[in-house]
Symmetry: C2
Subunit: 708 residues, 2 copies
Amino acid sequence: MTTSPAPDTTLGDHPGPTPTGPLPVIPDGAPHLDVALVTETLLGRWREARLAGRERAARPELHRPLDMTVADHRERVLEQMHLLAAEDVSRPMLPESLGGPNDNGANLAAFEELVVADPSLQIKSGVQWGLFTSAILQLGTQPHHEAWVPGAMSLETPGAFAMTEIGHGSDVQSLATTATYDPDTEEWVITTPFRAAWKDYLGNAALHARAATVFARLITRGVDHGVHCFYVPIRDEQGNLLPGIQAEDDGPKGGLNGIDNGRLAFDHVRVPRTHLLNRYGDVAPDGTYSSPIDSPGRRFFTMLGTLVQGRVSLDGAANRASQLALHIAITYASQRRQFAGPSPTEETVLLDYQSHLARLLPKLAATYAGAFAHEQLLIAFDDVFSGRGDTPEAREDLETLAAALKPMSTRLAMDTIQECREACGGQGYLAENRLVGLHQDLDVYCTFEGDNTVLHQLVAKRLLADVSRELRSIDRAGIGRFIASRAETLTKRHTPWNRLAQDIADRGQVRRSAETLRQAEFQERLLSDRARVKAEELALTLRGAAKADPAEAAALVNKHQVEMLAAARAHAELVLWRSFSQGIAQITDPGTVAVLTDVRDLYGLTLIQDDLAWFLLEGHLSAQRARALQADVKRLLWRLRPHALDLVAAFDLRPEHVRAPIALGEEAERQADAAAWFRAQRASGEAPISEKAQKKARERAQGTPRDQ
Amino acid sequence: MTTSPAPDTTLGDHPGPTPTGPLPVIPDGAPHLDVALVTETLLGRWREARLAGRERAARPELHRPLDMTVADHRERVLEQMHLLAAEDVSRPMLPESLGGPNDNGANLAAFEELVVADPSLQIKSGVQWGLFTSAILQLGTQPHHEAWVPGAMSLETPGAFAMTEIGHGSDVQSLATTATYDPDTEEWVITTPFRAAWKDYLGNAALHARAATVFARLITRGVDHGVHCFYVPIRDEQGNLLPGIQAEDDGPKGGLNGIDNGRLAFDHVRVPRTHLLNRYGDVAPDGTYSSPIDSPGRRFFTMLGTLVQGRVSLDGAANRASQLALHIAITYASQRRQFAGPSPTEETVLLDYQSHLARLLPKLAATYAGAFAHEQLLIAFDDVFSGRGDTPEAREDLETLAAALKPMSTRLAMDTIQECREACGGQGYLAENRLVGLHQDLDVYCTFEGDNTVLHQLVAKRLLADVSRELRSIDRAGIGRFIASRAETLTKRHTPWNRLAQDIADRGQVRRSAETLRQAEFQERLLSDRARVKAEELALTLRGAAKADPAEAAALVNKHQVEMLAAARAHAELVLWRSFSQGIAQITDPGTVAVLTDVRDLYGLTLIQDDLAWFLLEGHLSAQRARALQADVKRLLWRLRPHALDLVAAFDLRPEHVRAPIALGEEAERQADAAAWFRAQRASGEAPISEKAQKKARERAQGTPRDQ
């Protein structure tokens, strides 16, 4: 058996700077990051909107005081909402027909930045404009737009988005609220049939909403046409509930307590026929149902698809929250000292500890990947919603991309914020340093607007459909060959021959140059092979499900749910890695490219390291290469150490955004004071000597060791 | 090359029950868990004290209202403390000389249970009795005990434990506060030299403390004898600060807001000579220093070692918090339904999803391991503190065990609570369902009483010292052989010959019986080999450090810090696994043993799976075995599914402990209501038919497919 020599994929052995000293020094000849250039690159296509959002997020009146009751926090955020409404900040989302620019990308870009002011404000804005107003715009038609959008935009009509029920969260298709058409009065009768069908977790529902966009099963002439959306007034101008409406308060939550989440129920509440938001389905006065989309399933998913912007904006906001957490923790870690290290008179800066770098820098790398990927998602969203690229395929791709990325960014935000909190020790636990509040607020991002697990299930199904389509598109003999080749792969991995050959080929070939390109090819190949193989193996495993009865199929799928989630994750990580690489490709400054490529490599190698057993067991990686990879990750940590502050500086988080005393010079000042005190004490000659030193001196004076 | 046949370590192929249906049914002939027996086993040696603690934790006046300002919560917890003091709950900790039973194990066992009432109450009790009073008891002598312990016990003197400084948390040896002896007045002069030396994060310091046990460098006759502890009054009876004392409030925190954490500074505060807690060091009226322990280093660590009970009790409380979170999430997951599954009329219970089992059951298994390990820790603690087994070696072992386990249990609690929170979706985010509050409160357990990273560093150093001692105990030739044999291992793992042989040996040997013992041997061998090899490899890698100068040594150690932490973790996991196995060995009921052994196997195999790449790369596991192991983990999840509710029932968490509506029947009732409504609707014949069914019926009536 012959084998071609394996490419050299090691990263060279630059050790980086000595891991200590007062400030990290970038070694002579090493690349520098152009901070302003990276900031500009990250600002992306909607630069102006993002900068305006940052200006807004810096304003103290939009910030959150640390110790407030739930009631006070809710009132404050409502007032903040009125400020935003008065400044017409959501105008970019309005279509041309309502005098707006239909600039959806700009709208979301600005909106995401609000998360650093107060996540409650971001989400309450999202409820009012991103969900309630958007439902009217996306699911309604011109008369609805004219009647209700102005009041929704101005906050004259605070609104709730009444989709989720207690009994059904991410499974919208199974909602139980009904809207039954009564042709005699030409009205809808909206009813909550049982407790589990109460609408729940609705922002604005507990107190502030005057109206709601209510998702209910449309029933006319004895036929259930599935879930549609209705505009329903729920409170009068004094804030009293209208007849037939019940409301409950969800009470205190884990975070986001500036929002009055609550429950709503409807006891035969009547609204006019024209309150059906009728873009995708309508009922004539006599009760005849009609829809431009024939298939009820496709119609439902089309309606839901119009609401994808919630997921898109959470992806961006979660990434911004990770940036803020990393800014705080990395700034603090570069000033805080603890335990004596190489220097006898100076303690070691936290960021000079290997374990501290290993905690924070991979999260920083993943956050960069997320920022670049979010820009791609925002562009895809804007293309569809501007109408420029609005095809069914583009919508489906957009939904899959959002479903792939939102779980990644929200999970990363939680893990990053928690790691940063712990990395700051006791300071991290003080509310003034922001990290605990960020964790509390961002927590629910993982389970709302589509639970992360459910979204990745959707991605996996899409991947399976793609693979199956490929299988269908080749002839029967071709399918046989395909299955045989996969089976051969499965067999091969039971023998170590491949790896053995690789081991031999690898040994002694450790060259240290021209590494960058090879690293990219190496990572791309491993990550894309993994995404493909995980989907293909799943498709082969589940190919019986298509022919099985529904119960058997469901049981079979459920036996491989963990692999489905792993396949979705592998796909999402490939998307993230490629977005990062494409983002770097836009940049021409060589120093910036070099540093960001190291960050990208850290991201890619960490992904591979985290799934290393899979790569080994599947025969994609030899043991030798796997060990080299682990050493490379460590080298990258030290090599990136001097660039850590530049990398967080590029996030353009200003003091008014950061607001955490430990990241605004407080710690540096304390360290300087202490160091000055010790210097003065040493100079004074009055410093006490230590007992240990005294003992040694005494022994020396007696001229003999102490056992005398 | 010959090779002995590998033992069969697969777990058999019992698939467990069909993963659906209304309630999990334990298959005929399958083992049952005796819930009461497991509860008794987990109660452990201090059964009565634990049961009394559980009664206490059930009392509503000791619970926490959900929406309180920081100020109100602090007042409430102070009142609760007075209730506890009036009932003399901490009496078991008192030594015989003060009329107590010196029953330290019982004291901690009862105290840990308070975490389910309100973690703020647990920690504020810990500050008052576990730290402040304990410091007087452990570091002081009889006159101190008589003067100050009664007031501390009765809460007449609320106290702060003033050790940590802003600038020094886990590095106590570097504290900067000074206590300088003035022989003219026979007083100590206590001084905070600069801002970073302010005492910080002290419970009771912001408001309630009247006195503090202050850790400061003892300076007399120009010599610094290192950190000692002093009793310092800080507020008068009206709560006004005494002259020279400054206090600040730490303000709102991420959780534990029932405790008034704050800062203290001392401006030449004078206390009498006798306020030095002088068990381990004293000063005569003329300023002569004396100590029963000659070495300043050993003296310092002896003093600190007396405070180990904080870590011990956090380990127990964190484990109890994990139990509570799992009780809530697993109860809810066994009632909550979402998405249609195998049944056409019934949605699937969350716990019947593979991914849900994979999220929760490994955490349940780890929590069981933690409970058994904690009992071992508590016994070790009681042996030392009762004086029955108080040797320097036993103290060192106790400290190492606490340093190994506290990071494991507190990390597990955070991960478990978060996983449970997300597994409960929106319900998990409501404060009434407890999970978010538990996360907020337990968060700081990871970084206080010894930061988790710092503690595992200590464990690693101890492991290195043990290995080095072994190396020293063999002669020079022996060392050479030892290094050569390790080097041989290192070389071997670069060739896949071993694994190849194992692969061949494994193939076709999959027997399904007598598996239990083999599983235990298999897991024990892998986990103990891993712990040993990681420590030995580290010792070999770092053997140059002993001869290097301090700066070089520190740099070398820092380059392997991540491996040090990994070695400590491997050691801790072995301790946990063994404790679990020993715990099962006490039980004789075969059904209970069988189920708990499955739980133990799930724990052991998950540990191996989580570090699978290491086992593969080191040649401890063949690829074939690794794949079988992954399949075994999945099988165990299904096999344990019907026992999940029994396993959480054994934690003996009563409704007054749980208090989360979703785990107290609310969800079951909603599901029953909804199901009854659907049944009635189907029976009435008035249910609307779906559009899809209508279309099919119409097509059938027309006798042709729709393309006509």
